[in-house]
């Protein structure tokens, strides 16, 4: 039997957005600034040090019922969580595999977009530096 892969979105969101139907969510991790010591001959790297910490960012976007996205939220700590859809049957015939992404970090930006003839969409991004 083939391995079941993680699919879709189940529960998740953040306290600042009520009733969100998450369309997509992304979490990234990036290395900080790296200082490298080249050797002799200097086509090799002898030693590497980290200068600035790693950075993780997470963004969720979706339709919503209501929100409390305001100026006061920026710069404060917010937790975003998104779980996979485990209700759809996977290839094995059992519930879909469970997995999740989550990040508790500083809210760096949010947006609310309204469009004529479409659902309003809210988005929020949090960032955490260091381990």
């Amino acid at each position: 039997m083939a391995t079941d892969r993680v699919f879709g979105i189940g529960s998740g969101g953040c306290t600042a957005i009520t009733g969100i139907v998450i369309g997509e969510a992304t979490i990234t991790g990036d290395i900080g600034e790296v200082k490298k010591l080249t050797g002799n001959p200097f086509t090799t790297i002898v030693e590497t040090r980290m200068l600035t910490p790693m950075v993780r960012k997470m963004t969720i976007t979706g339709a919503y019922e209501s929100h409390s996205l305001n100026q006061a939220l920026l710069g404060t700590e917010v937790t975003l969580t998104v779980g996979s859809d485990t209700t759809n049957l996977a290839m094995s015939g059992v519930a879909g595999p469970s997995d999740a992404i989550a990040l508790k970090g500083i809210c760096t930006e949010w947006s609310v977009k309204v469009s004529k003839g479409d659902w309003a969409v809210a988005s929020i991004t949090v960032e955490k530096k260091g381990a």
Binding site: G8, I22, G29, G32, V34, T38, D99
Partner: protein, 120 residues
């Protein structure tokens, strides 16, 4: 006519994360800075040497099984620890510079990572 390389072979892995299905992967190689000696007159290059170290980079995007996102989020960066990435026939052991997990409402979750190896 000799058959050309097609698609991606099974058996890919990112560190300890196995059971992944690679959608695409790219292996890049770049020379570092080049040191060039211009001749006399200065309209020609007499000699060329590699300055800063060569860089190899492997990036890949992949679907994954349960626990894959959790494992990806646990990856940390120290600029030195080698993470071995195999994406079909492409392989590189280097330090991690970027990872990503993207969840979409009606599609497979996609993990991404980039490792870099500097020097020989």
């Amino acid at each position: 006519m000799v058959a050309k390389i097609f698609s991606i072979t099974p058996g890919s892995a990112v560190g300890s994360i196995t059971g992944i299905v690679v959608g695409d992967a790219t292996l890049d190689g770049k020379c570092g800075s080049l040191k060039e000696l211009t001749g006399n007159p200065g309209t020609e290059i007499e000699d060329t040497r590699i300055g800063e170290a060569t860089t190899q980079t492997l990036s890949c995007n992949f679907a994954f099984a349960a626990g894959g996102a959790t494992s990806i989020q646990a990856l940390t960066f120290d600029g030195t620890t080698a993470v071995s990435v195999t994406a079909g026939t492409l392989t590189l052991s280097g330090y991690l510079t970027h990872w990503e997990v993207k969840a979409v409402k009606d599609d497979w979750w996609v993990g991404s990572c980039t490792v870099v190896k500097e020097g020989v």
